[in-house]
Amino acid sequence: VVNYRVASVYSTPRESPALSRIRNFCIIAHIDHGKSTLADRLIQRCGAVEERDFRDQILDSMDIERERGITIKSNTITLLYQARDGLEYHLNLIDTPGHVDFSHEVRRSLMSCEGALLLVDASQGVEAQTVANMYLALEYDLTLIPVINKIDLPAADVDRVSQEIEEDLGLDASEAVKVSAKLGTGIDDLLEAIVTRLPAPSGDPEAPLRALIFDAQYDAYRGVVLLCRVKEGTLAPGQAIRLMNTQKEYGVEEVGLMKLKRVKAPELQAGAVGYVIANIKTVRDIAIGDTITDAARPAAEPLPGYKEAKPVVFASFYPMSTDEYEDLAKALDKLALNDAALTFEKDSSVALGFGFRCGFLGLLHLDVVQERLKREYDLSLLISAPSVRYRITLKTGEAKLVDNPSLYPDPMTIERAEEPYIKATVLMPERYLGTVMELCRERRGLNSTFHYLSVGRIELISELPLAEVLFDFYDRLKTLTQGYGSFDYEILDYREADLVKVDILVNGERVDALSQLVHREKARQRALHYCERLAETIPRQQFKIAIQGAVGGQIIARTTINPFRKDVTAKCYGGDITRKRKLLEKQKEGKKKMKMVGAVEIPQSAFVAVLKTDDSS
């Protein structure tokens, strides 16, 4: 049954396998259901990595991914599996991020596969992202294998979870493969199920080339490495290719398979998943989701699915010390090489100096970028409150997009303001419905509806302003549902918003970096929160400090910080004046590092504390 196709150009013995011996699949799961651990087990079982080179979460190359147990970048690996039928199969596992911020990446990964393992934690059961990801997979016509993971846990309840798979997802639970990725239980059955139950890819290797770019990595020596799925035709070195959406052309230098390391191959044929190096300088030059075709014999139509990843959350990054501005600029440039969704432009604040206004796919994306800047580039940053992008229509009829409070036009000139809304889906046990509905109401949720999934479980759908979700919505949800609620969202549309700009004044001077655009109903609450936080974190000074929240000229919140009342050394004799003076010199040095607003010294810790979003309420 050996059915290798003899390559036309290359006479090497390592040719592409027959389509029937390829399986392209991904693993979709709610966060923490064990996706990376399962990938690790599959990789080990197929011997794709020497035991001594193995480490947990092997597909996650960034430290931050490994530490937090999340996947941010897509990755892929080709596994060689000797199946029970005696044949060797190429199993292409495409690892996808699980978080909603990166759903565009998930889509593209799904588009590159024929099948998906739908992973469900045996104790947690079906959660919001499980459902969302399953619908996505069905949208792309993937064959699903339900996998129940963590069956070794004492809290595992396979029967309940099976019922949820039947009732919440509408899948046949009897087909579910039960595994413990941690212990390696059931992995062989799963590999066999991948071979026998997932369809082989189809596609004509002789047809005009169409390959979907599902991710890109940046290599300091080779430039951009495109990860792609060849749907039709063949990709080979020396070929002139065109990216169909950007219409840019490149010469292919190298193609190959991802086997943790890149392994060169003579070609990639229809059905294959692999990489392409084509002298592309930065990820800015390409678009993830674009279709690669042959420049000489182009396909008529690109593959569907190209959609620009648009940032939805914006925040300004300022270096703690102004001389780090250049370093920040360089670091952002470098990060952007590998992160096409990250946008940034120059910004400046009277209080905080020069910085960048950055755009992100969501709060996790923001957090990840910030963390990488800190960790990989050793930068300490001040980050302004995150904001969504508002659509402002002026009385002149002109429309503007505003994501930076400092660019908010004079309210007198504004005809209408609109804000982005999301469709939020919350899955939870029935008993939390009331409190979660109340949370949605607090957050200006509209058209909340719910329906029962399996017994005792509810899916709540609510239309919420995205801005309301940016502030600790997820944490509140987790608290209110004691960890049982899960959340997923998609962007809906823009709707009219009664918007005001809240300014924070310190001794009458506006701290521009703390200005925020908020809904009028929320203005007082937000202003008071900021004032209180500042009052807690700005140390006493020699004068009284008034902290106010204002909308236009109207003060809507205020707090005060009393001046120092006691700051003198009790004993200053015995002649040891040096030690005391040195303490004061240190204090004076410390003062220099503080941000001066008017005559008030604001330590960076105050900005950090105030701008933290996770525990505001």
Partner: protein
């Protein structure tokens, strides 16, 4: 020109107080005698330096842990080698439990004019908390006896601002002190230092310092109460019945008068130069044994350092900062370079101008360190960079 001061550090105590961060230790009589020998050596080693001191201060530790004969030998040595002036003002710190009619007579005989008593409190409960060896009655008796013994100035040290101390309790201590009528009182607000027993207690959460606002209220109360009782303050922690009872020695630390400090950890200052001795008794001795000055380190103060010290020390005294002297020493006018700051401090009731002096109010004294760092001394750092 003021004559220099001489400080002699006696590093012994019969017990280490839980708040104390001075160089102190316990020792047997032989050990103390050995110390005296080494101190005499150090005095000799400094022969010819800072001659003509007119104040001599025995501090510690507990100088009263030395026998009068030992003190006498030290006094003799400083006269011989350091030409301490005839009739120099001698200060002696003593603990109430060391006070007896005989001891007082002996100290008087040595020429001691200011006897400073480590009373700390008149409350037994507080004394126990502070780890003191004496009790209320001993404290009272020591002040009475000292007054009867005919010293020029009898001073009592008190500590306040203890965790949980109520204003009424502190007032009780002050009232008791008034009844005993010393000539001088020092009231030190408790500072919990890192590395002390209290410091460790604090780190473990077993000791909670008084809040800043409460401390400030007690500070203000202390200054007002004592002024009304006839003991006007002249420094953040010091009060005297009249100017003649103010400490002539401590004043020297506050206005950059030269001083020589001998004994472990003692500090010296002369000609913009400050140096200090090894803190450890053993190291101090070893160096002396090797014939070296037992100095641990030294620094030369530039105009920036001197300027900051001038403000830091000036604002902790009622006399404040002498602006014309400042102008002469540092070459610029504080009122010109920090005009708006001074105005602001005046408005806030922290500083006031009297003649050519910028003086702190009581509220200003309470934040003297803060006031000092608020001033822009950039003209000084610039001139230092140029020179």
């Amino acid at each position: 020109v003021t004559a220099p001061g001489l400080y002699l550090h006696v590093p012994f105590c019969s017990r280490i107080c839980p708040y104390c961060d001075f160089a102190v230790r316990t020792a047997r009589p032989e050990r103390r005698e050995r110390f005296v020998e080494w101190l005499l050596r150090e005095i000799e080693l400094n022969r010819g330096k800072l001659l003509g001191a007119d104040t001599v201060y025995f501090g510690g530790g507990t100088p009263s842990s030395l026998a009068p004969g030992q003190l006498a030998r030290i006094l003799e040595a400083i006269q011989t080698h350091l030409a301490v002036v005839e009739g120099a003002w001698i200060f002696l710190e003593v603990n109430p439990e060391d006070v007896s009619v005989e001891a007082l007579r002996a100290w008087r005989g040595l020429g001691v004019r200011t006897l400073s008593l480590g009373v700390q409190s008149f409350e037994d409960r507080v004394l126990a908390f502070l780890g003191r060896r004496h009790e209320r009655e001993q404290a009272r008796r020591s002040v009475r006896l000292a007054r009867e013994a005919g010293f020029h100035t009898v001073s009592a040290d008190l500590i306040y601002g203890l965790p949980g101390q109520s204003p009424a309790e502190w007032r009780g201590d002050l009232e008791e002190a008034m009844r005993l009528a010393p000539d001088h009182i020092s009231c030190y607000q408790l500072t919990v230092h890192h590395g002390t027993h209290f410091g460790r207690q604090k780190a473990r959460g077993r000791l909670q310092e008084m809040s800043e606002d409460q401390q400030a209220e007690l500070f203000d109360f202390t200054h007002r109460f004592l002024a009304e009782a006839g003991y006007p303050g002249y420094e953040a922690s010091n009060f005297a019945r009249s100017a003649e009872h103010q400490s002539r020695h401590n004043r020297k630390y506050w206005d950059h008068t030269p001083y020589l400090g001998l004994g472990p950890s003692a500090h010296s200052f002369a000609d913009n130069h400050r140096w200090w001795n090894c803190r450890q008794l053993e190291t101090w001795e070893e160096k002396l044994d090797a014939g070296e000055p037992p100095v641990e380190a030294s620094e030369t103060l530039g105009p920036g350092e001197l300027g900051l010290e001038t403000l830091m020390l000036g604002f902790r005294t009622y006399a404040g900062v002498d602006l014309s002297r400042f102008r002469v020493r540092f070459g610029f006018d504080l009122l010109e370079t920090s005009a708006s700051l001074v105005e602001r401090f005046k408005d806030e009731g922290l500083l006031f101008l009297e003649g050519d002096r910028l003086k702190p109010t009581i509220a200003g004294l309470a934040i003297a360190d803060r006031l000092a760092v608020s001033f822009d001394l950039a003209p000084l750092t610039l001139s230092a960079a140029r020179s």
